[in-house]
Symmetry: D2
């Protein structure tokens, strides 16, 4: 077994010297206030061991990483029916997200782009009486951590600047692919994005995707065949138009968020979460991408 602690510390030290941290996301005002030098890694092995370095216990806004967790809930509810409302193909360029939605008559390309995640949110809003409460409960349960909560300030930021999401939700509605009120779906969606978690908590939440659907308490949360498929979607579509690059350089299923968090995993082996708020030009954490590339190279672990 590799000496994981040494590997993490080596990555941390080397990347800490990198003067180019990328750009902290500014379109959500609350995210722009984060220290660009923040950096943390948490590694959770499936065997129960864990390793960490840097700000692995600091709360961050998980943003789009939440899309994998809502997808897990929706696929549990809807099963294969889900794919009538959202496709599973990589989306290519991000600039044309609404364009794609128009071209493809309101069927989002996959559940990890915003339009797709809005459809997933709609499924949960339809199914649950109190979807925000249920989602929070789900995350708290699989992590066995009742302290996890929404960040009210980030939430307000989302509401006041989410014009593109309003546009996408209304376009979905025009195509009859949103069954609830636009406002209600966006309320849930902005909440899920505003969830605040540490790298450690994130790794625990995603443990089930590396462990055939069982969470850290050994409780089955998701069918094995769904786990396999969600991992496939993360690999092909987890990093916007850098998904191919990530598969190419890192070779793990994963998901990034505009808050600078990234989660990645090797089935049956580990979950790793990284946080550094500076983003590269594709919108993924710059140091996070580099850290994961170094980790798979040094540990010699990848699905390929």
């Amino acid at each position: 077994m590799p000496d994981y602690q040494s590997i993490l510390e080596d990555i941390y030290q080397k990347l800490s010297l990198d003067p180019d941290r990328g750009e902290v996301a500014s379109y959500i005002p609350e995210l722009a206030n984060v220290d660009p030098n923040a950096f943390g890694i948490y590694l959770q092995l499936v065997n129960g061991e864990s390793y960490e370095v840097g700000l692995s216990q600091t709360h961050i806004s998980i943003q789009s990483i939440s899309k994998v967790l809502t997808l897990a809930m929706a696929i549990h509810i809807e099963g294969l029916n889900l794919w009538e409302r959202v496709d599973i193909e990589p989306s290519g360029n991000p600039f044309n997200q609404l364009s794609l939605l128009e071209l493809e008559s309101g069927i989002p390309r996959n559940p990890l782009i915003n339009a797709g995640a809005l459809v997933i949110a709609d499924v949960l809003v339809t199914h649950f009486k109190e979807p925000k409460k249920e989602f929070l409960e789900f995350v708290r349960t699989v992590t066995n951590d009742q302290s996890i909560d929404y960040d009210q300030k980030v939430l307000e930021s989302e509401f006041s600047t989410g014009f593109r999401n309003y546009a996408a939700a209304n376009l979905l509605k025009a195509y009859d692919n949103l069954h609830n009120d636009v406002e209600e779906v966006l309320d849930f969606y902005f909440h899920q994005c505003s969830l605040s978690m540490t790298c450690a908590q994130l790794a625990k939440a995603f443990y089930m995707f590396a462990n055939k659907g069982k969470d850290m308490q050994g409780i089955p949360r998701l069918k094995k065949r769904y786990v396999k498929r969600i991992n496939a979607i993360m690999l092909t579509s987890g990093f916007y138009d850098e998904a191919g690059e990530f598969a190419f350089e890192v070779g793990l299923p994963g998901k990034s968020g505009v808050g600078g968090g990234i989660i990645a995993l090797l089935p049956n082996e580990f979950v790793i979460s990284v946080w550094s708020p500076g983003l590269n030009e594709k919108g993924n954490s710059k140091l996070g991408m580099e850290a994961l590339e170094m980790f798979t190279t040094q540990s010699n672990l990848s699905i390929f």
Copy 2:
């Protein structure tokens, strides 16, 4: 001078026999209730004479025809500055309206597509304290007809089904090309679309575009150079992706609305308005297009 009354009657009789009336717009519920066999024409010569046939005095929902009137108001206010926020090129295919807006970073292709008309609406909302009242006042004044008004039922229909317009407005907002609240701009925009006018009133309202900017009372309402340019925009962009076809077959500047109305004009000669609610597959009045083609052929009048 051609015998206009005979021409109109000939067109009316021939087209009345056409069993294929096209499809009445159904996406706005209130419009779907109109009699598909309704048909009327009104011809207003610049010299003051007028001719009419069929339901030329029935009120119809002018819908997108209103975009030319708000454009006239906005260009009067903003002059050339207007073109920093909206372009003047034909838009090609309609299916990709939001796509184009994304591709062109929030600058609508021209002021006669919905996105462009929303920017024009935003200009008026910024400039006037009571834009809905001012717009109504403008139309009443140039037609010298105080009876013109918004149709409340159509208006409610617009609000409850205008998801694409909500999407477009939010996307413009995301690109900082909408300065007022989305709701406020849409409130104005839905009002302008719901304006109810007869063919006769429409022809009178557009008289200024055929008469170098002076209305039927001889009062200057728009600078000559703006009239020339608005006519150019109507010719290249007045009929969605059938603009080329209309220029080709009819050869007049004009504008259609989804309510089945069409207005067209020959500078210094006449304004003609036609109404028949059935639409062709491009979204323009089927009989209206045919009537105008017959009219220019029989009268031998066109700009080309």
Copy 3:
């Protein structure tokens, strides 16, 4: 009647002072050798009078202006059947010419974009045994000028650099919308583009479009209804993605070429040709566009 000679001289003098001449086309090597300061205008009235200023008798490469002349030949042969193979709508952005062709399954948007002109060329190659000779003969006849000829050096340049045209022709072939060999059609197309004419000759060649189809000798060359329609296509599609701008600022049907020539006309009144090789960023002659705008403003003549 306006004092045309004074107007032309005024335009010539004012624009001659403009230090910004645009960029001479460089992608065809032979065109890049032209003097960027060259500038000439020729005005041919329908009543027979003519006025000129500057290099109006210098030979230029007419390039895309030729598309209107081949269109006239093809519409004479095929009539309405032509529109089954090519559409008549404006094309919007030029960057996506092949994209549009793919999106629209091999039907070019209009006959004045390259793909459309290739279909027109194919029609002529099918119909004539010696299409290059026939085209030359047609131009010589309508201008009554046997000296007009292809420019061999430009022709070689076209062949060696026309990769985009090869791409478009092959794509048309893939969609079964090219009936002859790609090489044969391109041979004709490159010839038509390489035709060398003076501003004076161009104005004479286009006289028929301003004179209901009759050429300068009074001989009918094209049916009136085709003239009207070709003028409409020039207005909506004659200037790439600046067609709306040209209609807006100038208000005349016209066509530009990458050699820096522009032809424009007012039905029943005049034909005007301008040449200045520097192009604006849209690929139209910079001084040419400005000259025509000044001309319609000063002469107060436009179709709108």
Copy 4:
């Protein structure tokens, strides 16, 4: 270890009953002559064992499967420089292949779409004096089988119908992303597509991608880090716009060809090749896709 022979036979029997075989590719005339009921599978374990069923020893036209083999040769030559001329992102919809190339200024989205494979072909044409001979030699060497050869009849079919490839090559040339003559590159490209191999030979050729770069004789042919990356590209881009679906349902890196062949592999475990000429609507072998889905389900082997 699963009972592979039983699994293969079970799949073979169940799928042999499927009346819907998809459509045999017709655009290449020579491919259209194949028996639509043909079906074979070959499984090569990394440990040296092999299993087969049906027509696993019949020669098929490998078509696009060849792209992975030329990519391996090119990456060996160019290393990371290769990625300046071709990207590694999934391409999404296939209908817009030339559109994407235009939108992205001549940089193909990945090396497994036709435009990307043409750039790869160009690299080999530049590097080798006799590229066709070298490619054949490479395939014969890694399979240790001198009988493999090009199929002359398929080759002629390619030349006479490859208009889209001519279009793509010329467009690449227009963007300066093809350094050799279009004809020369296409000559090589059509040869590689016409390579004729059995399922057994294909599995042996791809053995190196499952075995860290070493072929069946244990000879290193490709660096480990390149193997990992090519596998990643196969996973994200190996099945046109069904790549996401394949990752989702099968979960293996792989590549399909229009001849009905599919190759897929699990690193360190096995290579599997399937052939059935009928294609689904996405252009991948219908039975082939189903067979692989059944194989990973029954063997419980996948990268996820």
